[in-house]
Amino acid sequence: MSTDYWDQLQSAALLGTDRRPLPEPDGSPALQAAAAGVDRTDPATALLELAALTAVRRRAGLLPLPAPAPEPPAGDDERPELPAAAGRRLAVLLAGRAAGTTTQPNLAELLPQWLSLARERGYRPPAAQVPALLEAARARGELRGDAVALAGPLGRWLAERNPQWRYVLRTAGAEGPTGTDLVWQQGLFAERVTHLTRVRRRDPAAALALLAGTWPSERAEDRLLFLDALQEGLSPADEPFLEAALTDRSRNVRATAAELLSTLPGSALGRRMAERAQAAVRLVDGVLLVTPPTACDAAMQHDGIPPKSPTGRGEQAWWLGEVLAATPLSCWTHSFGLPPGRLLALPVADARTQVGAHAGPAADGGPWRDELHEAWARAAVRQGDASWARALLGPPPRRAGSPAVAGAPARLLAVLPPPERALWTAAFLRTHGPGDAFQLLGACATPWTPPLSTAVVAALERAATAGSYPWNHSGVLGLTERSLAPATAPAVAALAADAAPDTAWAETFARLAGTLRFRAEMLAELTGEEI
């Protein structure tokens, strides 16, 4: 057959006609007839001519392959496709992703917002853009939840065919088939964490059962991260499991279990801590008398208090702080009968120097005051207690350099309801520079409220007139690009127009204004509103 003949020609050509005889023509009669016309005196030229004849015949007579076995198509997607303008916007946003992030951060900042809104609106992206979407979310983990939900059944169909997009099949939001407990039994670690988190969100008890089933056989560092997943949907049903984890082999697991228990209202650990706390802090004649623990006994260690401070603080202060931070805050308001604000205003003294209970208020607030307030701040953050956080934060400081708030203000702020957070931060910004407010701004909900947005713009304007440079505020500017209220666009545009032309601030404000316009348009396209 001619295929064999082609092979014979190939092997003759490979070794050379000096070493290999010219194969006799073979194949169809037409080919043999044509081959008969080839001058065979020089085997090399004859081989080339015969090969040309055969190659052309093979190509001209090429046949298609038989059809492969059919495969199921992607599942139907009932969602409406994105409005045309929003689809074009997605193309621009995804194209911008590849650009350098140093000079043009805005498109990268805006993609997450776009994705979450498009998902919320229940749209389906144009099919041709789904691969770029999956590719973008492969590189940026924070996009995955929204990107996978948006990509829908087509995204899963593609991911089943492209190993690079396997994450899609593991991401919550892509409803997987049943029998996913296989993932728990056999999956990779990251897959198992995602799975546990997903189950926990849907059915907290089922997640606990899943975890308890394999707990003894898990490695210590895995146990630690699995335990973290219980944070969501924590309830008294989890207490026995967490109590048992207090005797875990790993110190970190013990500490995490204790921390979870301390945030659980009415837990036994909370009660044990409250007993220790009330032994350490008493209210006598309007003064908080502090008797720090003198040792970290076995019971305290069992409840997750490490005997040594990791930062090398004084032992007694360290133990006191750990006990108070794990004590339910209601313990103080109930037993002392005072609201948080009044408790914070009380003088604090060392019980050992106040023998006889002649407690006069100490001029500096007492030796243990800072430790006490710091520990209460930690407890307020842990327990998400807004009234304590509000009292600890106090009114926003009036001047730069005012006494510091106990604890980390940004973390306390995060406990407050979003409008209150924005008001507090706006007031803070009126007296402080944008740089000082970076962490506070990060704790505020996006998009920022109009008053907060106005305060940020005013702070940036002050920074510009004070002669600092935009790159000194790059962190705040990045936050601003993705969080500023679109309504602030005219004010920013006015700043851009007023800034000295061709200066760094003029460019910064112009870009900020451009980003805000872009964002306003992109949101309008998705919500069907006029800009």
């Binding site: 020609l9 190939q10 050509a13 490979l14 070794l15 050379g16 006609t17 000096d18 070493r19 290999r20 085997p43 090399a44 030229t45 081989l47 080339l48 001519e49 090969a51 040309a52 190659a55 052309v56 190509r59 001209a60 007579g61 090429l62 046949l63 298609p64 392959l65 038989p66 059809a67 492969p68 059919p70 495969e71 199921p72 198509p73 992607a74 303008a85 074009r88 193309a91 621009v92 194209a95 911008g96 992703r97 590849a98 650009a99 350098g100 043009q104 805005n106 099919a127 041709a128 789904v130 691969p131 770029a132 593609l158 065919r161 032309p501 460019e507 112009a510 204004a513 451009g514 316009r517």
Partner: protein
């Protein structure tokens, strides 16, 4: 009235991802003033960080771009931004206006330069040059045949024979004024092992045909002359017979070889059913022209390069403005498409590939790679970049689609896909990089 270009098409004009992103940021109405479009052009003023706004003009038909910004990239971010603005929202750009004076000046200057200029010719000298070149090419072809035969005599696997490589032979073919033979010879070094014999044999066939060009039928002689590297003047071709039709833009593909960008753009005549290939070249950082959007229909005259199986053409006079056309083009089953490729090879043995439109095909991942199948038959996909492959798979989602691409002896290379609603997606350019 110009039809709006799609955003994907505008993005595909950008020279790189950074230009696409920069253009995207300049695509909002607030960045622009005194915009307008009409008389085949689009213009506007863009306020940059400097004091004077940039003046940006786009001429649609070629298309061509002009901007007063310092960027030497064409189209610049301002032209891209203006096009995106116009493509996204027609109302954002007033239509039917008279071009602003600065835009009108540039457009008039362009039209003046486009007028043909008759070059004085000296027919006797031209004849003498042609004879001299023909003799040199024939001598080059004879030498090439000897070299090929020597190679096969010693064996393609012989390491000693491979030492010089074909680069040296290619250089001699350049000296012999046969650039086509030179690039074919240089290509031999890059062929895979199982393509070596066919490559040598077909080049030998070409060199033989070149020496006996006088004995060949005229169409085949034209084919051989084109393969060897004799160029045909476009103006001369357009002076001859042209084919007037409504031409559908099937798709285009850019490839870069050294500093030049080569653009292949395929057309299909609605009336004649003929396929045509327009070849153009762009300098570095610049998109080649023309950039006719895929899926558009334009009424125009084409002049085909003569040959045994004419495909390559030059674009002649256009009639009326081009515009988008709904739905997928007429298509055929896999077996018929492959038969067309076979006919092309039978007429012109050096045919590398043939443009075809496949009907109701689905991409399927098999153990041997991706295939396109129409239930009856299948073609393997090859030379398809990952990005294009996944876009094709996404548009199909496992359901039948219409696909335009090139057939060759190794399989099929997709260029454009039409989904079930007949919407066009280009697979070779643009999109998210």
């Amino acid at each position: 009235m110009e039809e709006r270009w799609s955003t994907e098409h505008v993005l595909s004009l950008a020279s790189d991802a950074a230009a696409r992103a920069a253009g995207g940021r300049l695509s909002s109405p607030a960045a622009w003033s005194r915009t307008g479009c009409g008389q085949g052009a689009l213009w506007g003023l863009c306020q940059g960080s400097g004091s004077a706004p940039y003046r940006t003009v786009v001429e649609f038909s070629t298309p061509a771009y002009q901007c007063s910004c310092p960027s030497r990239t064409l189209p610049c971010k301002h032209a891209l931004g203006l096009l995106l603005l116009w493509s996204g929202d027609r109302a954002a750009v007033p239509a039917g206006a008279e071009p602003a004076d600065w835009a009108a000046r540039w457009l008039a200057g362009r039209r003046r330069r486009a007028e043909p200029t008759a070059a004085p010719a000296d027919p006797v000298a031209a004849r003498r040059r042609a004879d001299r070149r023909a003799a040199r090419v024939a001598a080059g072809a004879a030498e090439l045949r000897l070299r090929l035969a020597d190679r096969v005599r010693r064996g393609l696997a012989d390491p000693g024979a491979a030492a010089g490589g074909w680069a040296e032979v290619a250089a001699r073919m350049v000296d012999a004024q046969a650039p086509g033979l030179a690039s074919c010879a240089a290509e031999l070094d890059r062929l895979p092992a199982d393509g070596q014999l066919a490559g040598h044999a077909l080049l030998y066939l070409l060199a033989t045909a070149c020496e006996r060009i006088g004995e060949l039928p005229e169409p085949l002689a034209h084919t051989v002359r084109a393969r060897v590297g004799f160029t045909v003047d476009s103006a001369e071709l357009l002076a001859g017979p042209t084919v007037r039709d409504h031409w559908l833009v099937l798709g285009s593909r850019d490839s870069t070889d050294g500093p030049l960008t080569t653009r292949r753009l395929w057309l299909r005549g609605a009336k004649t059913g003929r396929s045509a290939l327009l070849l153009s070249y762009g300098r570095p950082g610049q998109a080649p022209e023309p950039t006719l959007p895929t899926g558009w229909l334009l009424e125009a005259e084409l002049a085909f390069h003569p040959g045994a199986r004419p495909l390559r053409a030059v674009l002649g006079p256009r009639h009326g403005a081009p515009g988008p056309t709904p739905g997928a083009p007429p298509a055929e089953p896999v077996s018929a498409a492959l038969a067309h490729y076979g006919e092309a090879v039978a007429a012109d043995p050096w045919t590398e590939s043939w443009p075809v439109v496949l009907r109701d095909v689905r991409p399927i991942a098999t153990a041997d790679g991706w295939q396109l199948t129409d239930h009856q038959h299948a073609l393997p996909l090859h030379a398809t970049p990952e990005q294009a492959l996944w876009r094709l798979a996404a548009v199909s989602g496992g359901r039948p689609v219409t696909v335009f691409g090139e057939c060759d002896h190794r399989g099929f290379t997709p260029v454009t896909v039409w989904d079930e609603q007949g919407r066009t997606t280009g697979l070779t350019t643009g999109g998210a990089a």
